[in-house]
Amino acid sequence: MNELALAMKELDEDKIMELVKSGLDQGDSPLDIVAALNQGVVGVGELYESGEYFVSQLMFAAEILTEVMEILEPAMVRSGRTESAGTVVIGTVAGDVHDIGKNIVGTLLKGSGFNVVDLGVDVPADKFVEAVAEHQPKVLGMSALLSFTYPEMKAVVEALAAKGLRGQVKVVIGGAPVTDEVKVYAGADYWAPTAMDTVSFANRAYGK
């Protein structure tokens, strides 16, 4: 693990910003920088799984990544090279306007190299379906904080099936009121107890 990856794993914000800026100044490839950050994020995930890090640290990792990506994205566009681990469509389901969980998942996915299509909050079923048809992701993630959303999740899964898209996309659901029972009820493929579980699931879906 290089210095940047280690700083990411340790959430040393100042050091990360310094290394990213000096790296770009020295002509390092933005993709190499992203790769190091990805490695660091994997380390964050491991520390989270081992119980050393909590959601607060995941949240902060996501914050740092958001800031770093703002610097990196223009450089990546300039270098004309983008590579993605795959596409994931995410959103908070209809009726629910909470986004903390979804945003953490989105940023960690980006930090792990995925192209994330974030549909926002209060997303109706047809918007999810349209996005799957348009972006052809292998993974669709639905988030919720409130328990009245169970039928909404089910509605999205059924709408995907009605459009013949269900077979091409794995559906993962997550959020405070979501459990394995809800997964079964909604007809989803996977219930992610934590944000990192969604990242692992996406990695598996894309064969990584």
Partner: protein, 451 residues
């Protein structure tokens, strides 16, 4: 004694005994937040927050149909008050959301990071003049007609709501024998700072970039939250004060110990010394933090355990020292079958319910979409398996008042006297007492918006 009075006394006595960790005749079924009662009788979610009478009628019907219930809920938001001020950090059914979608709180950074010092210098001044107008659209232009009118209307709405809440409590007691689960409210100081002022992202940065300021702000907020709680608490000390918790679940034990707990403990200590118990909704998984409640006096808090938490572990960790409520999680009540519900209640009564101090409840609440047959199964199972000590005759009691800090005021009568150059030749106490009473109400009015 009327039947309803008898029922009221039994329910309240049973609930109080459980909170005191004393034996009960039967384990109480005592929610602090039952949103299901509101919709059971057919109200949509807009009606509940805009039409108080419909809310009350819904609750009355619920009480009649599910008499095993010992408490329902004690508080609600009142739409017209939010409209008068143009409050936009809450999304309301029928106003911002579909009529059948529940109201929701949307966090935003209403205090900027560079404003900590201003906040610390005078928190009340800061929230009223700086932060709140950022989410109260009608207060954006101080001194304007719209501004003055909004404040006046908000005062009227607040008074009307207070009067309704009193009538509601009296009606439910008289006609249904139904006591209130709580009176008064506050937030953990860290939540007060993060929910409405700094927002989640902001606070997560602050605890790393300006930890000292977060700690100072929480310490100041502990006094404010205690003041809010004491001014809204039950003067007879029969009922606990309500405190929903929001951000503890995201924190590591180290962060919790540094930022969340000291100021919450300070607030709880002030309430305890004043003779008040607190009912806390432990939202999310409090597993890593819950042992801290052992530091508080025995039976001084009642803890609602959330669906992501584990009531069995909570019982092992603190159940001998503090009351616990919960165990019926949302997926079970919404998606499960009556048989599954009955099994779960039986299991809870025979495990965590063996200890005095357990209360059957949903995970911090009885959700809107609970199936009626599932709630009925809860009631039947509590009757069947919840018998604890049938020799006990539940009877209500009042708490003992202890010392409390003086209510906070924005302005004193002495200052006002100087402002209007009043010679005050009459009985000044006759002026000062109502002055202080309305000042305390006004102070509360402003601080309630942190919740």
């Amino acid at each position: 004694m009327t039947d309803m009075k008898k029922l009221y006394d039994e329910r309240l006595g049973r609930y109080q005994a459980a909170m005191a960790l004393e034996p009960v005749d039967r384990i109480p079924l005592a929610s602090g937040v039952s949103t299901y009662a509101e919709v059971y009788s057919g109200n949509n979610k807009q009606e509940t927050i805009y039409d108080q009478e419909k809310w009350l009628q819904g609750e009355i019907k619920f009480c009649q149909d599910f008499p095993v219930t010992d408490t329902l809920r004690s508080n609600r938001i009142y739409g017209p008050l939010f409209d008068a001020l143009g409050v936009v950090n809450y999304k309301l059914p029928g106003r911002d959301l579909n009529v059948d979608t529940q109201f929701q709180f949307v966090e935003k950074e209403y205090m900027r990071p560079e404003e900590y010092d201003e906040f610390l210098a005078n928190p009340t001044d800061f929230i009223v003049t700086r932060a709140w107008p950022r989410f109260m659209a009608s207060l954006a232009d101080p001194g304007s007609l719209e501004y003055a009118n909004a404040l006046f209307k908000a005062g009227l709405c607040q008074a009307a709501f207070g009067a309704f809440m009193m009538r509601r409590g009296q009606t439910l007691a008289r006609d249904c024998g139904m006591p209130q689960p709580m009176s008064g409210f506050f937030l953990a100081p860290f939540d007060a700072l993060s929910d409405t002022l700094r927002d989640f992202k902001g606070i997560m940065r602050d605890i790393r970039r300006r930890p000292d300021k977060v700690i100072k702000a929480c310490d100041l907020l502990a006094d404010e939250m205690a003041n809010l709680a004491l001014n809204t608490a039950d003067p007879t000390r029969s009922l606990p004060v309500f405190c929903p918790t929001h951000k503890a679940m995201f924190l590591s034990p180290k962060e919790f110990d540094a930022f969340y707990w000291p100021s919450l403990k300070k607030t709880l200590d002030i309430l305890h010394h004043a003779g008040h118990r607190t009912r806390l909704l432990l939202e999310g998984d409090w597993g890593p933090h819950i042992r801290h409640f052992l530091e508080l006096p025995r039976a001084s808090v009642l803890l609602d355990i959330d669906g992501q938490g584990d009531i069995y572990r909570a019982s092992e960790a603190v159940g001998h020292h503090q009351g616990l409520a919960g165990g019926l999680n949302d997926p079970l009540l919404i998606l499960g079958t009556p048989d599954q519900v009955r099994e779960k209640v039986k299991n809870l009564c025979q495990t965590v319910g063996r200890k005095a101090g357990y209360i059957v409840n949903g995970a911090c609440n009885i959700p809107y979409d609970t199936k009626p047959e599932n709630y009925r199964a809860v009631c039947e199972a509590v009757e069947e398996y919840g018998k604890f000590d049938p020799g006990v005759k539940p009877a209500p009691r009042q708490g003992v008042a202890g010392p409390r800090p003086a209510p906070k005021l924005i302005s004193t009568w002495a200052r006002q006297k100087a402002l209007i150059k009043a010679p005050a030749p009459g009985d000044e106490a006759l002026i000062e007492a109502p002055w202080n009473r309305f000042e305390a109400l006004a102070y509360n009015f402003w601080w309630q918006w942190v919740v």
